[in-house]
Symmetry: C2
């Protein structure tokens, strides 16, 4: 596997992704930048926070992802000469000195505070905070939202599918062909694994991100065979390497034997059998037969068994089958019953354990429905619905100014739920005696507010709902965890890039201790995100002071 | 603007997109490749066709897109040393000679036949056909589906929005932050323009694809101003360059004047006014005020007018307003009424024509609903729903083997609608006397079937529904257009890359002559896709010959 790059590039050095340039942003970010510059406001100290207002998929949690890519983007952040030449054309009235300014900036003026990739996160919580001169902190809005929005969405989607499938199933990501182009597919692969998937079908993602790949064959492979003549001369090696034999007669022998055990060969398509023989002779260690090209039970499973028994007689495993159409619950149960019967007759319990893989337009709801129906599937391959996040194809994350020149700012709205919570904030997760998170508490960052009281173990804290006056509670935490930390200060501070599998483990750990009613698919209970009383009072005072009162005459 | 590269790179030379590598494919494509190679089948002559079975968005048409990117991908198609090293780890049992084979191949063994980018296309029609040795033609399945799937989907979505908005509106693509990462955003931008959008907010897409960009400012810009003191010293130049004046007193003067014309300033937020003054002084030629930060009608529009009138007195245009929340139909009508009243009072009809831009979660349905309510919006900015294709986030395009060793293949299914139409096909569009397309006719490609009769002007042709025996008709075409042509034969054959704006024009021309009932949003009439009688008979014979007949005992 490729080694992860643990040493970070110099600031302004190109990313492997040619799209990592400051021009990857909405044009209004650049026009605002110019307006700030022209007014001499571009260096004003500012702080923006990225967050979402509602959890995706009608759920009550999300899994934060995309931080590493954001840092790669910041590392590569520099306007090239051709970028500037282009901007001169877009903004013909802008002054030359502005373009000189652009040519000099990079992300060394920024400070980034963020949650760890893989953190379970909730509405209103700052996922990433960017501090720095107004113009630069503003212009990175679009790329940051682009990068973390989809990453968080697909990672959350994958996690929900993992919750629905249960911990003992294998989940394979199959979505490359349904993604928004190559990069959408790459993101889907890595963030699906972080969320709880085991493998991807995307080979390049496997190479680049060091995640396991899997794949067998398609219907076209089966269709490319015409009859058994095409595979009559194939040889196969036994697993221990002691002998090489003709595979075809061996399969035929097993076929006859299975017939005697009640496995009818009448409807077994011979071109399909030829395809399985060919595939198994190439991949005796990972034979997985796609069994639904002609008729799943009467042909596919029957042909699979002939080949599987032949493989087994050479010391290999039986392999597995893949169902890609039809009633997956029924087909898997019927196939399993056949395997169980043969296991008994041949006195080999491993026959009963032959893996059944299922694919075909699966999503969270079908996983839940399959559980209710009862099924015998071990492995799920999920593509379209994972990658496109059909239920909700965008997170709707936002990036809001929370301080300027050290003064708090809030976006006002007549709908208080759309108001932003002012000031730079730190999120603490407060845990109960049993180790379960009770709630998250946002307080103003000590930086700039040194008098801020931070929550401590054993101390009683008044926690308030950000918007609803009546919702409040006292918490005495048994453990206090600070969720955000500085990850960039002029340059990247993290010293090690975490592997996708590590982040996946981190997500799993959190899901194990989280309250199940928050994670469940149907009508989950909201997790409490609260403010300390100080921030609550401060915010509501600012709201009252600033929201204009309509006057009716 | 950047020049489009009209000269094509050498085969195997790297693409600007680092994801353009043969590993950008499902692992099963590579394992199948090995199985073919091992069986000596990898060089078998084969033909695959990519198509979709159902038009997206409950519509009855799609706009084919993505061809140019496919050709870029093929140009860069070559396994690097590190790709091969990685594959050795993924397929530990594969023989060395296979990897030698991989290291030698590129796309020079392929022939590609495709529709022109921007062609209106329909179910079952081959969008792209790949011919070549089985192993290579198979392995490009996933990247081709990935590239054309989203391109076609978003281009079609954009076209539907254009149809809904009407030809006289300006459409701006705003979706970068809601895309599946950077590349999803880039694809959304270019294919939205091809489908009928006028501009994008994505600056990098503007640079790379030579498409117009647009953008003004965000709420954060308005929020970054505190009061009018911040803009008191701003200067502005008159349009003719004859003078530079203090902008603030000029705006205040217009403010007083507007007050006398019944424009109440009582609720006009002064920090918002400061933001508008600042923005207009930076972009006097493209002032667009986002008017909903505080109160659209009582503050935003009022402040806009003060600044617009000041600009106008210096020879600039009034500029425009952007509505980003609330009841867009009502707000636009009310703002227009104010503009109309002022136009009368100031005897300046251009005041009434001030452009009103609207954004905020628009989609095809809201465009149609706005039309029904009556609105005064000139420009729509559409992001999330355009980019994510919320209504249907994947095209579901497929890539099927249609010939091997010059013999036709079809995927059988008990559901005949899921059967693939065998053989390499050419699609002809047959036109009526008035220039309207009557139907599309698929016939077997002359290549390999030299006796195939191709449709000719004035000749009566029997056209048959591919699957339904009872549906058939005679057509005497007044014009016959062949839709697919060879675009790659060992190397790229097209000699000029078409600009997005050209393709956009091509799409528009086709929509003008298409039957409106096929294009409409609600319950559209299906467009006829048919086979000539020869292909029909051939296909149904093959179906009967090959589909196993279930036996019930």
């Amino acid at each position: 596997m490729t080694e992860l790059k643990l040493i970070f590039p110099e600031l302004g050095s190109p990313s492997s992704n040619y799209l990592h340039t400051p021009l990857l942003t909405d044009t209004y970010e650049l026009t605002m930048m110019y307006a700030y510059w022209k007014r001499g406001m571009h260096e004003k100290k500012s702080a923006f926070e990225a967050f979402f207002r509602k959890c995706p998929f009608k759920g009550e949690y999300a899994v934060f992802a995309g931080l590493d890519t954001v840092l790669q983007f910041l590392n590569a952040f520099r306007f090239s000469e051709s970028d500037i030449a282009y901007l001169r054309k877009v903004m013909p009235l802008a002054e030359d000195a502005f373009f000189d300014y652009l040519s000099q900036i990079d992300a060394s003026c920024l400070k980034v505070t963020a949650m760890k990739e893989g953190t379970l996160c909730y509405p209103q919580e700052p996922l990433i905070r960017i501090e720095g001169p107004l113009a630069v902190a503003q212009v990175v809005e679009t790329p940051i939202l682009t990068i973390i929005g989809y990453a968080t969405l697909v990672c959350t989607n994958a996690r929900r599918m993992r919750q629905a499938a249960g911990p003992d199933k294998t989940l394979m990501e199959f979505g490359l062909r349904r993604a928004q182009g190559p990069d959408g597919g790459m993101s889907a692969s890595i963030y699906a694994v972080m969320g709880g998937f085991d493998t991807t079908s995307n080979t390049l993602a496997g190479k680049e991100f060091d995640i396991p790949v899997s794949g067998t064959h398609a219907h076209s492979f089966v269709m490319s065979f015409k009859n058994l003549d095409e595979v009559k001369s194939l040889k196969i090696r036994s697993k221990d390497g002691s002998k090489t034999v003709d595979f075809f007669p061996l399969v035929m022998e097993k076929r006859e034997m299975l017939k005697k055990h009640g496995i009818s060969q009448d409807s077994a398509n011979e071109s399909e059998l030829a395809a399985f023989i060919s595939y198994a002779s190439s991949f005796p260690n990972s034979f997985c037969a796609l069994v639904d090209t002609y008729d799943t039970l009467r042909s596919g499973v029957v042909n699979f068994l002939s080949v599987a028994f032949a493989l087994k007689s050479l010391g290999w495993e039986y392999g597995s089958i893949r169902l890609d159409s039809g009633d997956l619950a029924y087909l898997s149960r019927t196939a399993r019953a056949t395997f169980a019967r043969l296991a008994k007759e041949f006195e080999d319990p491993s026959i009963e354990r032959i893996q059944i893989v299922a694919s075909n337009d699966l999503n969270e709801d079908t996983l839940i429905s399959l559980n209710l129906q009862g099924h015998e599937i071990n492995v799920f391959g999920i593509g379209t619905n994972l990658t496109t996040c059909q239920k909700q194809p965008s997170l709707g994350d936002v990036y809001k100014l929370v301080e300027i020149s050290d003064e708090p700012r809030m976006k006002l709205s007549n709908d208080i739920g759309k108001t932003t919570i002012p000031s730079k904030k730190i999120v603490y997760r407060l845990y109960s005696e049993t180790g379960t998170p009770i709630l998250d508490l946002m307080v103003r960052d000590l930086d700039g507010h040194p008098d801020q009281v931070i929550p401590k173990v054993g101390q009683r804290i008044l926690c308030r709902h950000p918007f609803e006056e009546t919702k409040r509670c006292f918490v005495v935490p048994h453990r206090v965890e600070q969720l955000n930390s500085v990850v960039w200060e002029g340059k990247q501070l993290l010293h090690e890039r975490r592997k996708a599998s590590e982040i996946k483990g981190f997500v799993e750990e959190q899901c194990k201790i989280a309250r199940p009613d928050t994670l469940r698919s149907m009508n989950p209970t909201p997790y409490k995100v609260s403010l300390d009383d100080k921030l609550y009072q401060f915010m509501h005072q600012l709201y009252q002071d600033n929201l204009p009162i309509a006057e009716f005459k």
